[in-house]
Amino acid sequence: MTKKQKKVLKRIIISAALTFFIALFEHIILGKAGDDYRFPVLGEFFHKYHFLLLLLYLVPYFIIGHDILKKALKGIKNKQVFDENFLMAIATVGALILGAVTCGEEGGYLEGVAVMLFYQIGELFQAVAIGKSRKNISALMDIRPDYANIEDENGNLVQVSPDEVGIGDIIVVKPGEKIPIDGCIVSGSASLDTKALTGESMPREAVEGDDVLSGCVNLSGLIKIKTTKPFGESTVSKILNLVENSSMKKSRSENFIAKFAHYYTPAVCYGALALAVLPPVIILIARGGMPFSEWAVTVLSSWVIRALTFLVISCPCALVISIPLSFFGGIGAASSRGILVKGSNYLEALSETGIIVFDKTGTLTKGVFEVTGIYPAKGEGTYSDRAGNLGEDELLKYAALAENYSDHPISKSLKEAYAKRLSENADNESISEAAEKKDNSDSIDKKTVIEVTDIEEIGGHGLTASVDGKKVAVGNIKLMNKLMLKADADNLPIGTIIYVAIDGMYAGYIVISDVVKENSKRAISELKKSGIRKTVMLTGDLKTVADSVGKELMLDEVKSELLPGDKVDCVEALLSEKRKKEKLAFVGDGINDAPVLSRADIGIAMGAMGSDAAIEAADVVLMDDDPAKISLAMRISRKCLRIVYENIIFALAVKFICLVLGALGIANMWIAIFADVGVMVIAVLNAIRCLNVKD
């Protein structure tokens, strides 16, 4: 609680205690006028000087309500008449006057004070609840580094504001600290927690020479970083800006409520005025000849009570507060999982998505080429046939070693796959070593240095080299043809095929292809389950490759061999076929697809950590490249919108029912207070649920 709130709490407690004792005095000690007074002298006295009781009640009333009255007066002075302060002031002052007119027989005093008291309790609760959830949400998004360490002339570490660090300066990040500015590690290594940026809980290892992003937390090891950007342009500043501005872009429901409140409050005030004046006047005319004083006490007063009840019920706070709070909660929940939503309007649109269009490379697939299959040849005339059995590992070994000095992406994938197998085998060995040392012909002894010589590149074909004394040729089918070797050519798996020949004998082939991300399939099926009508994949890749990916992921439609411009056309066509109120989302990796991202209703950029263009162009940014985050984002948005509608309908329904009951004279002041404060509290509590969405 803030100081201000504590002060209000104190006022509430004092005022409530006073009111309690005064009410006790009035009802228990004095008793009702109709019955015999318990203490006749005292009773008669207060009956005669009734205003004394009013004066007693005015003490707690002013303690609790003076600020509301002041605000209401100021509002009238500033021509902002119809606000909640005014409603409360009118309702409570009205109740007090009524009590004075009817000599307290309608119980107007207690009700007047109680309404003000409960209104303040409600306001306080609201302020605390909102302040708390605001803090919770802000804490989720709080990745702002407070300082940067730099070394002074004497080698001591000095903390400075990140703003003061220039490009190219060396900053020191100790274990447990946030990296304040983007840069490159110049010494040391560390494992970094990127959770604040990506929602990914696995720490990432970073060593000398690696680029690191601000916002990561250094878990272990002291690192020195040479900054590459000023603080203002570092990732962490950009993300903070984006998230903080997100609530500035208001959703349709928020605009609706703002407009609604604009008309609603004056309408209710005039309604209340009409309720207080019209029926009594009609009754006066209809009855004709009713004595004025009798009319005022019986008819007018009861309708004024109804009008005041009406006013208390009508307070629009529940709606006005709970809706932005729900959206804020949704945006906060999303950003804590590495999903940045740039505005409440996009969160709203996400829940209406019917068509999702994916880019293939980098979005559904990893976008890096990996060895996906190794096929040593077994047939007649092959290396295995003539020179002894050749295992998968060995085939890969020859290919990788032959390509050792090449920078081609394919060589890189071969080398990576080889390195991976080496380390896997090393692990297996260390396990089996404990049991028994087994002679494994497939295992590769990494201690022996294998000589690779006579490397000869044959442009457009591949290369040949001498590995471990054997002549190895690695390349495409043209190379095999050139060497006049018969190679497998039918029923090949999809991808790039690398053929290998050893000592002039065909040895087999290795398949390299772009791999589908582990989560892609689950992501698509989850999206479908959550009601996405159509999933489409667009790619510039070959039809065979695209179709096989599409089939594997069970996409509804695949469009392949597209030029970048064609993608925009495809999205345009899909936009024209979408149904009413349906939204189209495009998911891309932010590279080359900025025009499509901005053309779609919702542009979702993936793996955007550190990519400025993607963050600029997209409406929703997934910091890591996990496609499952899309369905998570949708679940968050759906839940958030459901809560928003629940709140709108619930609050309006309760208010409407109570308004009718109030106008009919059935609802009393207590029901009115529930309709105001109770509904608001329930709506705020409901809104806070937006924060909790299961993974």
């Binding site: 605000k71 100021k74 500033n78 902002q80 606000d83 909640e84 609201q126 302020a127 605001r134 949400i137 802000s138 903080e244 501005n245 609530s247 500035m248 703002a258 409140a261 629009p316 706070c317 006005v320 507060i321 932005p324 709070l325 804020f328």
Partner: protein, 72 residues
């Protein structure tokens, strides 16, 4: 030119009112208030004197919501 200011405002409705009030001030192209982050985004008109404009904005806001504060 765009700038962001920290503000203090108690309720969402009041924030909305502040936003409306700020938008009527001369020298402001667009002002948005976020109750949740307690921030006001202001886009100034070309050549406007920030300080003076913000003084006017505060005045206008005080009129609709007495309790509000803007740090500038």
């Amino acid at each position: 030119m765009k700038k962001t200011y920290n503000i203090e405002v108690d309720c969402a409705n009041c924030a909305q009112k502040m936003e409306n009030a700020a938008n009527t001030v001369e020298g402001i192209v667009k002002a948005t208030v976020s109750f949740m982050t307690q921030k006001m985004n202001v886009e100034f008109a070309e050549g406007a004197n920030e300080k003076n404009v913000m003084k006017e904005v505060l005045k206008a806001c005080k009129k609709v919501e007495d309790d509000c504060e803007i740090e500038f």
